[in-house]
């Protein structure tokens, strides 16, 4: 029984630019938007687009991610034939390899893909926040009779040189690919989402693997090789919300944009395109008399007695009396104790911020760092964490970290 299209989700990224947030977990497992993890977005997109078979390529700190994915039931991806499969690198008779690059990760799982005999394979990335209908993308791919299509976003010309750019003609056919060029010829940034005809992808993966000088990377090797051979390559324009959340500031920003769906375009309140996640199972959140909650998002299990402004609080977060939380992203089960002030920052899961501690500050002038506190850290009473600080270890009471 053949599948028309299956998805391969690249989730091996270490996310080193997220520092303290990815010390213990892979980037796709980083919490986002009050109750999600980043990987919920591509997974939900798959199931909402009618893709029921997803291979997740992992290799960095896979524990949290593996446990989170489980049998795939929260995304309706527990299937008899297909469903979600976590695919770490594995030992073979002839030795074992870590995934050397994005293309190599797919190459090492050719036999997984072949089990489903797909016509098309969509390559997804596990570090983006985006609601996208992949069936629409596939329709485009078929209409163009393409062998390879890439989803692209128009970006402002002045920022174009930060991206991998697709140069395409009127008919969307790609003629050139520029990786972070100094002089961009296009403002169509690759979103790192590709649809391949499987026979073509397989051929180029095998050719790439045979090349000892290759970096085994889609952007650096596979796409240039396709261009060299004048393959039918097309750029699919996507104009919805898309954000690479690979850095602390972009992750913070994307969270804040969730608070303003009317302007940012990232609407999580969409019954027709739900984002699924594993649920905390906690009771409704509680806002006590005397608390202040303004322009914020709260999740099940929160207990608010202090002040919360323009912030996103994940499940089970406690804000005690007299504490102030502003412009902050606070992940699951963290506690802000009485009198503590938490501003313009990202607090990871299970953090305790003790009485009267100060974390981060509102931007002023050039100072606009996002203070970040890593998973499980305790900030001592009266301690101070500066606006650019990256806290990985406990801070004793009264001490400072900048």
């Amino acid at each position: 029984m053949a599948k028309e299209m299956i998805a391969m989700l690249l989730a091996g990224g270490q996310g080193s630019r997220l520092y303290a947030l990815t010390e213990k977990l892979a980037k796709p497992a980083v919490p986002f938007g009050g109750k999600y993890r980043i990987i919920d977005f591509p997974l939900s997109n798959c199931v909402n687009s009618g893709i029921d078979t997803v291979g997740i390529l992992t290799q960095y700190q896979p524990l949290v991610l593996n446990e989170y994915i489980g049998n795939g039931q929260p995304w309706d991806l527990d299937r008899l034939y297909g469903g979600v499969h976590v695919l770490p690198p594995y030992q073979k008779a002839s030795g074992s390899d870590w995934y050397k690059g994005t293309a190599n990760a797919i190459y090492q799982n050719i036999s997984f893909i072949e089990r489903y005999d797909p016509q098309y394979v969509i390559i997804l990335s596990g570090d983006q926040i985006c609601k996208q209908d992949y069936s629409d993308f596939l329709k485009f791919h078929k209409e163009k009779d393409a062998e390879f299509s890439v989803a692209v976003m128009e970006v402002p010309w002045e920022e174009a040189s930060r991206f991998g750019l697709m140069v395409a003609g009127e008919d969307d056919r790609i003629t050139e690919f520029q990786e972070k060029p100094k002089e961009p010829k296009s403002n169509l940034a690759s979103m790192g989402i590709y649809i391949f005809n499987w026979d073509i992808l397989r051929k180029y993966l095998e050719e790439d693997e045979a090349d000892p000088n290759s970096e085994n990377d889609f952007g650096n090797n596979i796409i240039p090789n396709l261009l060299r051979d004048n393959r039918r390559m097309y750029a699919y324009h996507f104009d919805g919300y898309w954000k690479d959340v690979g850095t602390i500031s972009s992750l913070w920003e994307a969270n804040m944009e969730v608070l303003d769906p009317e302007h940012s375009g990232i609407n999580l309140f969409d019954d027709d395109w739900k984002i699924y996640s594993r649920n905390s199972g906690m009771t409704g959140h509680k806002i006590s008399a005397g608390a202040v909650v303004e322009n914020s998002m709260l999740t099940d299990g929160c207990r608010i007695k202090g002040t919360v402004k323009h912030s996103i609080l994940f499940s089970g977060v406690k804000v005690e009396k007299g504490a102030v939380v502003e412009d902050a992203v606070i992940m699951g089960n963290s506690v802000v104790k009485a009198g503590a002030v938490v501003r313009h920052c990202i607090i990871a899961e299970n953090v305790t911020i003790n009485e009267n501690a100060v974390v981060g500050e509102m931007p002023s002038g050039d100072e606009n760092g996002v203070a970040t506190v890593g998973d499980g850290v305790t900030i001592g009473a009266g301690a101070k964490v500066g606006p650019k600080a990256m806290v990985r270890n406990n801070i004793e009471g009264g001490e400072e970290q900048w």
Partner: protein, 380 residues
């Protein structure tokens, strides 16, 4: 799996006491009444059973049970999709001669063959009118240690006012115990005395084989009610031990108590008492977090996921997906899943059932002693 000598199966009666809350069970039954911002009443006993390794559970649905079937589905949320045991829903057979179950006797009699086939040594019987985080393991342990034939759980509280005032028995039977040295000496049916009573929680532990015997005999005699017709006449023969429960009990006995028991959870002390134990599972709706838009004012509320709050909300319990528009005022109210309070509307002491809409500018006010109830899908 081989069942240990301590293992038990569960039998749940989701329609018990439906007659006490006619408004709320118009389109459902007691077990599927929404409670505490995101649960249905059955979630409490069901989750408690799961946490006590009771994973072979029969739900004896009788009528109006579509909402419960929808809620329970395969039982996955309670980890009850099992090869051995799991969740069984037993409606009455729809045959010419058959009728809905009247009491527990005819209901259990209809599954005697099933019960004979099970491996568990004990059976645990409950209703669903209680929100409790109940430790069934402790009760089974007490049952084994006391050597009782039947163990019956009770808590000490006053009888609800509506029951005391009632002049008929057509809202069903409730029971209080006379206890001596831990043994139930007498069972009073529909007692109307004020003051603290040993109020039966209708939670029983009994050996499965004894239950089969008792039900078999009672059914042949045309008896209906387990407590009134099986236990009460045999108190001198059967060793019925009383098991006092000191944990938090929210007991639904009419619309007013439904309102009050929800409101009581706004007090952290009560909330922790009910929820600090193992988690209560419920059907997952995959809602987004709740959003408080600029201008929202909230004080002393419990709110589930998926709500959008732009107006003022005070002393209220909001279920999943409720919308309170700009300028709307919600006070001392319970708004079930999907209710919408439009701009400038004002509600107080209101129980809005699922998907109720209060149109812009409208006012709905009940009182502390008499909250207004608006039925499912109504537009005011």
């Amino acid at each position: 799996m081989v069942k240990s000598s301590k293992s038990a199966l569960g039998i749940i009666f989701p329609n018990s006491y439906d007659a006490l809350v006619p408004e709320l069970v118009n389109v459902r039954l007691m077990a599927s009444i929404p409670f505490a911002s995101r649960y249905r009443l059955i979630d409490f006993v069901l989750s408690s059973m799961t946490h006590c390794n009771i994973d072979n559970i029969s739900v004896m649905v009788n009528h109006n049970y579509h909402s419960l079937m929808d809620h329970l589905d395969s039982g996955r949320e309670w980890d009850l999709v099992r090869k051995n045991g799991g969740l069984h829903i037993f409606p009455p057979f729809a045959e010419k001669e058959s009728k809905p179950y009247v009491g527990r006797v005819s209901a259990i009699a209809s599954i005697l063959d099933f019960l004979r086939d099970q491996k568990e040594k004990y059976a645990v019987i409950t209703d669903t009118n209680l929100a409790v985080n109940f430790d069934f393991s402790a009760m089974i342990k007490a049952h084994i240690e006391s050597g009782a034939d039947v163990t019956a759980a009770y808590n000490q509280q006053e009888l609800p006012e509506n029951l005391l005032k009632s002049t008929s028995n057509d809202q069903g039977y409730y029971y209080t115990f006379d206890i001596e040295d831990g043994r139930v000496k007498n069972i009073f049916v529909n007692m109307r005395e004020k003051g603290i009573q040993n109020y039966s929680m209708n939670i029983f532990v009994v050996e499965r084989e004894l239950l089969i015997d008792l039900i078999n005999t009672a059914f042949v005699r045309g008896e209906q009610y387990f407590e009134r017709d099986v236990l009460l006449p045999q108190l001198n023969i059967l060793n019925v031990q009383a098991y006092k429960y000191d944990g938090y009990v929210a007991r639904i006995s009419d619309l007013k108590s439904y309102f009050d028991e929800n409101m009581k959870l706004l007090d952290d002390y009560n909330l922790d008492a009910l929820f600090s134990g193992p988690p209560i599972y419920t059907k997952i709706r995959d809602d987004n977090p709740t959003r408080y838009i600029e201008g929202a004012k909230v004080q002393n509320v419990m709110v589930a996921d998926g709500c959008i709050i732009e107006g003022e909300v005070e002393n209220s319990v909001l279920f999943r997906g409720v919308k309170v528009a700009k300028g709307a005022k919600v006070r001392n109210s319970i708004l079930m899943q999907g209710s919408v309070i439009e701009a400038g509307a004002s509600v107080e002491y209101l129980v809005a059932d699922k998907n109720v809409t209060i149109r812009a500018g409208k006012e709905m006010k009940g009182t502390d002693s008499f909250p207004v109830y608006i039925s499912k899908f109504r537009v005011v």
